[in-house]
C-alpha cells in the first residue's frame, strides 16, 4: 500500500512539475532561514505562552525564537561563541513526573539546541532577569532557590557543571569584572563572590548595610554600570554600588522632588527601570499611589541625567506599562511593553520620541531583555 501511494504521489508531483516547467516556471523549494548576527538594537521578549522571541528594533522585524521551558525567565547570550544559554526545568510528564534541570546550549545562527549540561534540580522558579548571567569569560552562574539560596556554576567551554556555591540570605547573579558576581541580601547588604580559574569560589566580601528591608528595600532588579550596579529603593532612592578591590556604596539621591513626593509619585512595575551607561540616562516607570504599590504599572516614564541627578523629560504613556528596557549602545533605544497581547513601543532614548511600535511581541511581554 505504501509503495502504491508513494508511486502515485511521485506520479502526481511529476505531472505538476512537467506542467509548471512547460509554462516556464521554476518550482520553488522550501528551506530554513539562518539568523543574522544580533545587533545592538536587538531585544528578546519573554512572558507567558511564548517566550524567547527576538526582535530587531531598527526594523521592527522578528528575527527568530529561542526554545525555552515553562520555567525559564531569562537567558544568557554569548556572541563570542555564537551561543545562547537557556536555563530550563522539565518534568517527564509535563506538570509532574521526574524533574530535570538543564542549561541548554543553543546555536545562535540556527536557534537550535546543540548541547546541554545537567545541573542540580534547584533552579529558582522566579520570574527574574538575574537568574542567569555570565561570570568571567567561560562560566555561567545559575540562581537556585529551594528556598535555600545558592548558585550553580557551569563551564561553557568544557560543557560541564562545576559546582554549587551556597549563598544563604543573598540572591541572584549580577556579574562583575574579574570572574566575580554581586548578590543582593535580605540584611540590607550586597555580597560579592569571586571564582578561581576552575570556577570554584576563592573569595567572598559583604558590604556594609545600606538599606533596611522593613523601611525602604531596594528593588531586586539591579542596573549595570561599568564598574558595578545601580540599585533603586521602593521609595525612589538611587544607590551606586562600585566594586573595585572593595565594595563602595554611594550616598543615595532621590529621583523624587518634594513636589513629586507630595503628588504621590512612585516607581512601580515588573521591570520598572532601566539604565544606559553609555549616555548616563536612567529611566523609571512612575505611577501615583500609596505604599506597597511597587508593582503597580506606571502612567509615565521619567528620564534622568544620572550624573547631574536631574530629570530630563517625562513621557506620558497612552496605556499603563510596568516593563521597560533600554539598549546598551551609545545611540540607545528605549523599549516599553504595553497591552495584551503585548506591543513594544520603541523610542529614541535621548529624546523620548517614539520611532515605531512592534505589535504582537508575545502574549504578554513580561520582561524585555536587551542583547
Amino acid at each position: 500500500m505504501k509503495t502504491l501511494l508513494t508511486g502515485a504521489g511521485l506520479a502526481l508531483l511529476g505531472s505538476l512539475w512537467t506542467t509548471a516547467y512547460a509554462a516556464g516556471l521554476e518550482p520553488e523549494l522550501g528551506g530554513v532561514s539562518t539568523m543574522p548576527k544580533p545587533g545592538p538594537h536587538w531585544f528578546m521578549t519573554i512572558g507567558f505562552m511564548g517566550g524567547g522571541n527576538l526582535f530587531n528594533a531598527d526594523t521592527g522585524e522578528m528575527q527568530g525564537k529561542i526554545n525555552v521551558s515553562d520555567f525559564t525567565s531569562a537567558v544568557a547570550f554569548d556572541q563570542k561563541r555564537g551561543m545562547v544559554y537557556v536555563p530550563a526545568t522539565y518534568y517527564s510528564r509535563g506538570s509532574y513526573g521526574e524533574r530535570t534541570d538543564l542549561l541548554v546550549f543553543n546555536d545562535l545562527e540556527n536557534l537550535a539546541a546543540v548541547a546541554e549540561v545537567k545541573v542540580p534540580n534547584k533552579l529558582a522558579v522566579v520570574f527574574h532577569r538575574a537568574v542567569i548571567n555570565p561570570i568571567g569569560d567561560k562560566f555561567i552562574g545559575l540562581y537556585n532557590m529551594t528556598p535555600a539560596m545558592s548558585v550553580s556554576i557551569v563551564d561553557v567551554e568544557k560543557k560541564s557543571f562545576v559546582g554549587e556555591i551556597s549563598t544563604a540570605g543573598c540572591g541572584f547573579v549580577y556579574p562583575l569584572t574579574k570572574r566575580r558576581f554581586m548578590q543582593i541580601c535580605g540584611d540590607g547588604t550586597v555580597q560579592v563572590i569571586a571564582l578561581g580559574r576552575d570556577g570554584a569560589e576563592t573569595d567572598r566580601q559583604r558590604s556594609k548595610a545600606f538599606f533596611d528591608i522593613d523601611v525602604d528595600p531596594v528593588f531586586d532588579l539591579a542596573l549595570p554600570k561599568p564598574d558595578g550596579w545601580l540599585l533603586v529603593t521602593f521609595g525612589g532612592k538611587v544607590f551606586e554600588v562600585t566594586v573595585t578591590d572593595e565594595i563602595e556604596i554611594s550616598e543615595p539621591w532621590s529621583i523624587l522632588t518634594e513636589e513629586d513626593a507630595e503628588e504621590g509619585w512612585r516607581v512601580g512595575g515588573d521591570q520598572p527601570f532601566a539604565y544606559n551607561a553609555a549616555t548616563g540616562i536612567l529611566f523609571t516607570v512612575m505611577h501615583q499611589g500609596e505604599a506597597d504599590t511597587h508593582e503597580e504599572p506606571g502612567t509615565e516614564v521619567w528620564a534622568f541625567d544620572f550624573e547631574n541627578q536631574r530629570r530630563g523629560y517625562r513621557l506620558a504613556l497612552e496605556e499603563p506599562s510596568g516593563v521597560i528596557e533600554v539598549s546598551r549602545d551609545a545611540d540607545p533605544l528605549l523599549y516599553i511593553s504595553v497591552g495584551f497581547p503585548s506591543s513594544i513601543q520603541v523610542h529614541k532614548a535621548t529624546t523620548g520620541r517614539r520611532l515605531l511600535t512592534i505589535p504582537e511581541t508575545g502574549i504578554t511581554a513580561n520582561h524585555i531583555q536587551a542583547l
Binding site: S73, S95, Y96, I213, D220, P297
Partner: protein, 180 residues
C-alpha cells in the same frame, strides 16, 4: 525547609497595617509566570462573583466575614496567585489531586470582623497545571525576591513532588501585633 524554618525568615514581621481593598496591579512577575504556564484569562482577574457575605468555616474558630472567592477577602492581603476556592478547593484546602506545599510565604492581615491582625501563610497547591481562575495580586507588605519569606513573586512549590503551580490557599497561623 519546613514551615517553621520558613517562618523564621519572617521574624521581623513588618508593621504594615493591612488594607482590605486595593486596585489590582497588572502584569506582575508571579502573575506573568503563572499565566505563562497555561492561563489565558489574564485580565479576568478577580472573578466578580455575586457579592457574597458568608461566615467562613474557619477551623481556627476566629470570627470572620467575607467571600473567599474574592480578592478582597481579608486573608488575601499579600496573596499573588489563583484562589483555590475558585478551583475546586477552598481557602484552606487544595483542589483534588493537587499537593499542598509545606513551605510558604507569609503576610500580616487585619481581620475586619474582629479588628485583630493575623499571621497568614500562603501555601501553593502544586503538581497540576495552573487553575487559571480568580487571579489575585495584592502586595501589602510584599518584599523583593531576595527576602523570600515575604515575597509573593516566587512559585512556592517547594517540598512537593512537582514545581508546577495550580493555586494558593491562605491559612491562619496565629494572632500577631500590627507592629510585628
Amino acid at each position: 525547609m519546613g514551615m517553621l524554618e520558613s517562618l523564621q525568615f519572617g521574624r521581623r514581621l513588618d508593621a504594615q497595617v493591612a488594607r482590605t481593598t486595593r486596585r489590582l496591579a497588572k502584569r506582575v512577575s508571579r502573575r506573568g509566570f503563572i499565566g505563562r504556564l497555561g492561563t489565558v484569562l489574564v485580565g479576568a482577574g478577580a472573578l466578580p462573583l455575586l457579592p457574597v457575605t458568608r461566615e467562613a468555616a474557619a477551623a481556627t474558630g476566629i470570627s470572620e466575614m467575607g467571600d473567599p472567592q474574592s480578592c478582597d477577602y481579608w486573608r488575601y492581603c499579600a496573596l499573588g496567585g489563583n484562589l483555590c476556592s475558585c478551583c475546586g478547593g477552598s481557602h484552606t484546602q487544595c483542589p483534588p489531586g493537587a499537593e499542598l506545599s509545606p513551605v510558604t510565604w507569609v503576610g500580616t492581615c487585619r481581620n475586619p470582623a474582629d479588628g485583630k491582625h493575623y499571621l497568614i501563610s500562603y501555601n501553593d497547591c502544586c503538581g497540576k497545571e495552573p487553575c487559571g481562575r480568580c487571579f489575585c495580586h495584592r502586595t501589602e507588605g510584599d518584599k523583593p525576591i531576595y527576602y523570600p519569606s515575604k515575597s509573593n513573586n516566587i512559585l512556592w512549590c517547594f517540598g512537593t513532588e512537582s514545581h508546577s503551580y495550580h493555586c494558593t490557599v491562605a491559612l491562619v497561623q496565629g494572632e500577631t501585633s500590627a507592629a510585628g
